[in-house]
Symmetry: C2
Subunit: 147 residues, 2 copies
């Protein structure tokens, strides 16, 4: 098993960051504009990225301003069954996001790509909660031939 | 053991990317302007980041336009003994960089930070080889309270 880990800090309240992770409007502002569903435990959120497909995430658990846990129920074969989590803490004047995408069976090249792409999207999340404007798909940063 | 993985693709030749990984001038243009030493096998390259310290990397092995392997010989305790590698391939019109920072003993919070920071620096590498201008320290992207 292999995990993708990231850490960002945003000069925004934990409430603001939590909202960006648990509402359709928030998620659409930093990950993909084509997001369907809110972050309610037991529901599934659909994220789509045009021709490249997308992911369905079941919301496993969450606690306001503290954490969000998702499980991937549809998408690329490598993603199905993996879990994504965001843990929020306060340090100095920052809300810190500890991100984990865990349970990859093998460290395939696609995992290398997803790791960098997650970093770009988490910086989009930071930008969104700090300024009101993120860089969600289709305005996301191109990192390679795989986009 | 835990690893940091990343993948970027740059519209530049493998020679250009390899030079950016194996010359003082290249490394200083995307990672830190305070870089001492070229990338010659057996040598140690010193990377410094102002008050936050830095890293010494022993060049273990490299093959022109294909790969670079370093070992961390000085720096934060969590980094010492870990290994950093860059593997280059060509796909479509891109030079792909598969990056690995392997051998972390524990997935500590600092590892989460370093993973995201590596992504930002690899995007600086991409920008440098494509445009001639990167974002090395001290012009690097701030990602959190840890910078």
């Amino acid at each position: 098993m292999a995990d993708i880990l990231h850490r960002i800090g945003a000069t925004a309240t934990a409430e603001t960051v939590y909202d960006a992770l648990t509402t359709q409007k928030g998620l659409a502002a930093w990950w993909t504009t084509d997001t369907t569903g809110d972050g309610v435990v037991g529901d599934t959120i659909r994220f789509r990225f045009g021709d490249t497909g997308g992911f369905d995430m079941a919301v496993l658990d969450q606690r306001p301003n503290e954490w969000v846990h998702w499980k991937v129920t549809d998408g690329p074969a490598e993603w199905i069954g993996t879990r994504v989590s965001f843990r929020l803490t306060r340090q100095d004047d920052y809300t810190i996001v500890l991100f984990k995408h865990e349970g990859w069976r093998e460290p395939v090249e696609f995992m290398y790509h997803c790791s960098t792409k997650w970093a770009a999207f988490l910086l989009s999340l930071k930008q969104f909660v700090e300024t009101g404007t993120g860089a969600p798909h289709p305005q996301d940063v191109r990192i390679s031939n795989w986009h």
